[in-house]
């Protein structure tokens, strides 16, 4: 009884709390393309396809559409509409893609997802990544210091370490104390490397990391001779700022920022070297050649990367997998032999051994001159074609694992499209159904649910009221979950989805009906109300549990195997069946128990709607 009351209060408080949280967090269900519209990205083939025959163009575009569908699917269950459409580009009839996604909040992401066409390259890190904030701070310090040869003047960066700014022999040193952030506008992210959220690279060895500190930084020489086939030698023309107007800043074009971050616990520090502002330092599109070192960024860190070890062509596929509570890994499937796993093993040997060609022991994946991720190696040789990528003992956050697997899986589209943003091919789109459809669905659904409520109360009296309250609990929880998934995973409710939810409400009443009918059976067998409620629930719940378990198993299979709107449906089905069980067990059981154990419950058994017929008192 005490447990019952606790469970009753618990579920009501939890539900109310979650509802409150949903409202405060501003989570609301996202309506689908058919109801609310969204954003549209038109992909027109770039020049290349004009050389193709019409059939080739159509095939490639159809394949590209499939890849884009998978990309969009993999980030959530947003039910996009991706259609291949004939279009007239520069007087030619070609096939293109119109990709529509519900919601308009994240236009940029939509463009990135559908427009990405680049080749995937794997390049070793030559230096640990430098957070852009540190780069800018060091550069400011350098410029400052260059003008004031007496020494450092005050721009400090967060974290512990020493910044060494070197310019043609003149050295300016600034020391940063632990945690004592000078200007405040430069965050201390990155130095400690403890804030995983900020780093899109993963398995990342940051400068503060023990293993990174143990590394011997390769020596950079200004006058190093670039030797063909010797990737350890860096062509410093990549580092200096060729376009930097030396006269304007007064810098020597060959000057550079040397950046030393102290190691943890007195370990050796690491040096990084840059010159000029970030934009001028980064490798240009023309300079991004497979066999050259490059300086690239992922918008958070600056990376110095060696020549390409291999490309996405070595991979057969990649998939994100759960590795335990909260943790995800990525399983990468390499091709056999010289075109696949051998290439990885060659890289693994140098990265695992932290050899010259891979002095940081980290391999970065690069798409379209953007560093997507980085990882280290746990073994110098991989026997199996399937290689697991994981991070630490907890793995990746789900989204990161999936996004990365996605990129590894479909590094490139089979056809090149014009940049939709540049070509002005991104626009908002309105809903496909009129407003009346949504309203009609909602009004009709509301009337339907109301009728159900009336029927339940008419038939089961007090128990009917209990059923409606239980329904209220599970519907509230459903709203919380749907709102949360809408906000976090882009779950979008289509009209069909809403009607499906209304149906699931009707169906979820079944667990109550099963219980009440068992109750009735027990009472007609001559039991008292109290013993009947306690007897009937375990039997009824077992029935409902195993039936819902079957539904849940089916939903999980559909969710795991399918894509698109079927996946979204499976998710809702699974959630609805779990919530049904929760409401039945944690609310219905103690509530009916309480109803039956009130003072005069036994005398008013008629009000329970389960035992009034064929009886005499």
């Amino acid at each position: 009884m005490k447990t019952g009351q606790r469970s009753l209060i618990g579920i009501v408080v939890i539900t109310a709390g979650l509802l409150l949280w949903t409202i405060l967090a501003g989570n609301t269900p996202l309506l689908g393309l058919d109801l609310r519209g969204g954003v549209e990205v038109v992909l027109q083939p770039a020049d290349d396809p004009f050389n193709l025959t019409q059939a080739d163009n159509a095939d490639n575009v159809e394949r590209a559409a499939e890849i884009i569908r998978r990309r969009v699917d993999a980030i959530g269950v947003a039910e996009p509409d991706i259609t291949v459409q004939e279009m007239n580009v520069a007087g030619q009839d070609v096939f293109g893609i119109i990709a529509q996604m519900p919601g308009i909040e994240d236009q940029q992401r939509a463009i990135e997802l559908v427009g990405q066409t680049a080749e995937l390259r794997f390049r070793p890190q030559i230096y640990p990544p430098i957070p852009i904030s540190q780069f800018e701070a060091a550069r400011a310090l350098y410029l400052d210091g260059y003008g004031d040869s007496s020494g450092s003047s005050g721009t400090a960066i967060g974290g512990e370490g020493t910044i060494v700014v070197e310019s043609d022999g003149a050295t300016v040193t600034g020391t940063v104390d632990d945690g004592d952030v000078g200007e405040g506008d430069v965050g201390d992210e990155g130095v400690d490397g403890d804030d995983g959220e900020d780093e899109s690279g993963f398995g990342l060895l940051t400068p503060g990391d023990e293993s990174a500190s143990a590394l011997q930084p390769a020596t950079l020489q200004d006058d190093a001779v670039t030797t063909e086939g010797d990737p350890a030698t860096i062509d410093l023309s990549d580092f200096v700022a060729p376009q930097e107007p030396a006269a304007a800043t007064g810098q020597n074009p060959n000057s550079r920022v040397l950046f030393r971050v102290a190691g943890v616990n007195g370990g050796p520090g690491t040096d990084e070297m840059f010159g000029g502002s970030l934009d001028t330092v980064l490798t240009t599109a023309e300079g991004d050649l497979e066999d050259r070192s490059v300086i690239l960024t992922d918008d958070q860190n600056v990376y110095l990367l060696g020549p390409t070890e291999f490309t996405g062509a070595a991979l057969d596929g990649a998939e994100a997998e759960t590795s335990g509570p909260g943790g995800w890994t990525i399983a990468v499937d390499f091709k056999d032999g010289a075109e696949g796993i051998d290439l990885l093993n060659a890289t693994a040997l140098s990265c695992y051994g932290v050899l010259e060609t891979c002095p940081v022991g980290q391999l970065a994946t690069v798409i379209d001159r953007n560093v997507d991720s980085s990882f280290g190696f746990s073994s110098p040789v991989f026997q199996s074609d399937i290689v697991q990528i994981s991070r630490g003992s907890f793995g990746f956050p789900e989204e990161e694992a999936k996004d990365t697997a996605l990129v590894l899986d479909f590094g490139a589209l089979p056809i090149e499209f014009q940049d939709p943003a540049a070509a002005g091919l991104v626009s908002s789109v309105s809903s496909t159904l009129g407003n009346n459809s949504l309203n009609a669905g909602l009004i009709a659904g509301a009337i339907g649910v109301l009728l159900v409520a009336l029927y339940m109360i008419w038939y089961y009296r007090l128990l009917g009221v209990a059923a409606i309250l239980s329904l209220l609990i599970s519907a509230s929880l459903l709203y919380v979950v749907v709102s949360y998934l809408s906000s976090s995973r882009g779950l979008a409710l289509t009209l069909a989805g809403i009607v499906g939810l209304i149906v699931s409400i009707g169906v979820s009443l079944d667990s109550n009906v099963v219980y009440f009918e068992h109750l009735k059976e027990q009472i007609s067998n001559g039991r008292t109300l109290r013993t009947a409620t306690d007897k009937a629930f375990p039997i009824a719940f077992r029935t409902v549990f195993y039936a819902n378990l079957a539904t849940l198993i089916g939903a999980i299979i559909l969710y795991l195997v399918t894509v698109g709107s079927v996946k979204g449906f499976a998710l809702m089905l699974g959630i609805a069946s779990v919530l049904d069980l929760i409401a039945t067990y944690f609310f219905m059981r103690p509530f009916v128990h309480w109803l039956a154990h009130r003072e005069n419950a036994e005398d008013n058994i008629g009000s329970f709607g389960v035992g009034l017929a064929g009886r005499k008192a």
């Binding site: 079944d510 067998n525 001559g526 029935t543 089905l573 005499k616």
Partner: protein
């Protein structure tokens, strides 16, 4: 619990009849007899569905087959205006979107997509938008559903059936798994068959409706099976009842639950169909709701009239059950089918009491034994069945 609050023993004054019997789960419906008629009905529906699927096929929507796209720039019309213009030429379900500002795109699948029909749509759009037909961009579009979605959904369904077959086989038994799977296929076939028969457009939403039915049908069947299984374990081998009789009795017990669940599931769909689809004129809702409505009804029906008879038929072939049937049919007063649910009920109640008394005997301190003894009295005093459903003539075989 104090002694004084103990309620007086309740008694049935007479055997309940009609709705009252239904309410109490004490109906005397002979399901074994009904199964034979139901088998004919099911066979008929399945054949019609198969025929419609083979000879008429499904009317696949634009998501699957693609269609045409019309794009027009106009500041004098809105989406509703275009929808009104397209409804008279049979395109009330066209997908009309405003793209950016004042550009409208209409996507529709034109029946017999020849140039005349496409031109007709262009004309209607041109008139509504107040532009020349030449200003409308007409292009063909592919399906947005994609082969991959279909392929993966098919794989998923195969895995779905295999895994759930194993699940039911482990949880209940393989004969019930067979019954459940056949019932699910029966339901889906009939629901899809209606789409083929009436040539409703199959959209992405329709597929979702089919899957909803799949889930519901399975769930409903399992709830019914659970009751059968429960009674099966309560009826000993020396029982006076054949397996079919026991199943029929179980169905009488769950009848009210089936009816109530159907009502609560169907009411919202019915509202969506009648109010949303017809009165409020949301065409896209109507066909979707029809699929759901039919599926829900068939789903409940199949649990009682397809899944369970298959199980009964399979179980009656087991040696123990054959022996039981032979013994019962040879003994006067044996019960076949569901001639006397109240007799079975009394037997089951007695079995339960015996079990309970044994259990209570071990824990004499609790308040239980008194209640139990009173219940025994109550049941013992219950009159014999009034025989509102006439006993049917004895047959040699009821299979």
């Amino acid at each position: 619990m104090s002694d004084s609050t103990l309620p007086a023993a309740r008694e049935y004054t007479d055997e309940p009849t009609g709705l009252k019997a239904l309410f109490l789960g004490l109906t005397n419906i002979n399901f074994v007899k009904l199964w034979k008629k139901a088998a004919l009905v099911s066979l008929f529906l399945v054949l019609i569905s198969l025929g419609a699927l083979i000879f008429r096929g499904l009317n696949l929507g634009i998501e699957f087959e693609g269609g045409q796209s019309w794009q027009v720039a106009s500041s004098t019309v809105d989406a509703d205006g275009l929808r009104d213009a397209l409804s008279p030429i049979g395109l009330s379900d066209a997908r009309i979107q405003e793209v950016g500002n004042d550009v409208f795109r209409v996507r529709a699948e034109v029946e017999d997509a020849d140039l005349n029909n496409i031109d007709q749509v262009s004309q209607a759009i041109a008139v509504a938008a107040g532009v020349s037909v030449n200003d409308i961009n007409v292009n063909s579009i592919g399906g947005s559903w994609g082969d991959e979605i279909t392929g993966k959904a098919r794989n998923a369904l195969i895995i779905f059936f295999v895994v759930l077959f194993v699940y039911i086989a482990v949880r209940l038994e393989w004969k019930m798994a067979v019954g459940a799977m056949i019932a699910v296929v029966h339901d889906i076939l009939i629901t899809v068959g209606i789409y083929a028969l009436f040539q409703f457009e199959v959209t992405a939403a329709t597929v979702i409706a089919f899957l909803t039915i799949l889930g519901y049908s399975l769930y409903d069947t399992l709830v019914v099976f659970d009751k059968v299984k429960e009674n099966e374990s309560r009826i000993s081998t020396s029982s006076k009842f054949t397996y079919s009789g026991m199943v029929s009795y179980s169905l009488n017990q769950v009848l009210m639950r089936s009816i109530n669940t159907t009502i609560t599931s169907v009411l919202p769909v019915l509202c969506v169909l009648l109010i949303g689809g017809s009165i409020l004129g949301a065409v896209s809702l109507r066909e979707f709701a029809i699929a759901l409505l039919v599926g829900l009804l068939v789903g409940t029906y199949s649990s009682l009239f397809v899944a369970t008879p298959i199980v009964a038929w399979l179980k009656e072939r087991e040696e123990a059950n054959i022996a039981r049937r032979q013994r019962i049919e040879g003994v006067d007063g044996g019960v076949d089918g569901a001639d006397s649910t109240s007799a079975i009920r009394d037997q089951l109640a007695a079995a339960d009491r015996t079990r309970e008394i044994k259990a209570q005997a071990k824990v004499t301190e609790t308040a239980g034994p008194r209640g139990v003894s009173q219940q025994s009295t109550a049941v013992a005093e219950r009159p014999t069945p009034s025989g509102e459903i006439p006993a049917r003539p004895r047959k040699k075989k009821s299979r």
